[in-house]
Subunit: 96 residues, 2 copies
């Protein structure tokens, strides 16, 4: 299923800058970055639970915010984009 | 229905800073800001078409990015949040 992850990490401190990098790194393990603080992750339930735990362990709940939006299996018709494209559709066939 | 809007606006120019403010203002007309560049908007189909047109007229498609995620009517169970809360649930009963 597709889970959209959006986050705001407070980067006013060096620790915040490190948290931001670690959050992005963890999300990269599960999916693709589509905007600066937005990732689209294809995960099953087990991976989703693990992902949430890993992010919870990283962020400062008093300063940062992470939001999860479960888009389900049939998500392609639910997503639209205009403007510059940041990444490619990881599930799309790779045409060489 | 709930539509999630995420955007990246290039603010390296004064024009970009103005575009960012206008994008946020338009989104505020339709819903609530839940993170810096993330809005949750409750719209019907007609409003959704108008919203997309208004944003398309504002952004620079060569520099900015707007993504729309249609969450549908039954969205509450599909949304999770950890960390600081930015806004309130506009559809929740206001308890005074």
């Amino acid at each position: 299923m597709l889970v959209l992850i959006t986050y705001d990490v407070n980067t006013q401190t060096a620790a915040g800058v490190r948290r931001l990098a670690r959050v992005a790194k963890i999300c990269t393990n599960y999916g693709q970055r589509v905007q600066n603080s937005v990732f689209e992750c294809i995960v099953d339930q087990t991976q989703y639970v693990m992902l949430k735990k890993q992010l919870k362990d990283i962020i400062d709940v008093d300063k940062d915010s992470v939001r999860y939006y479960v888009m389900g299996e049939k998500y392609k018709s639910k997503v639209e984009h205009i403007g510059v494209q940041r990444a490619f559709d990881v599930t799309a066939p790779l045409i060489i």
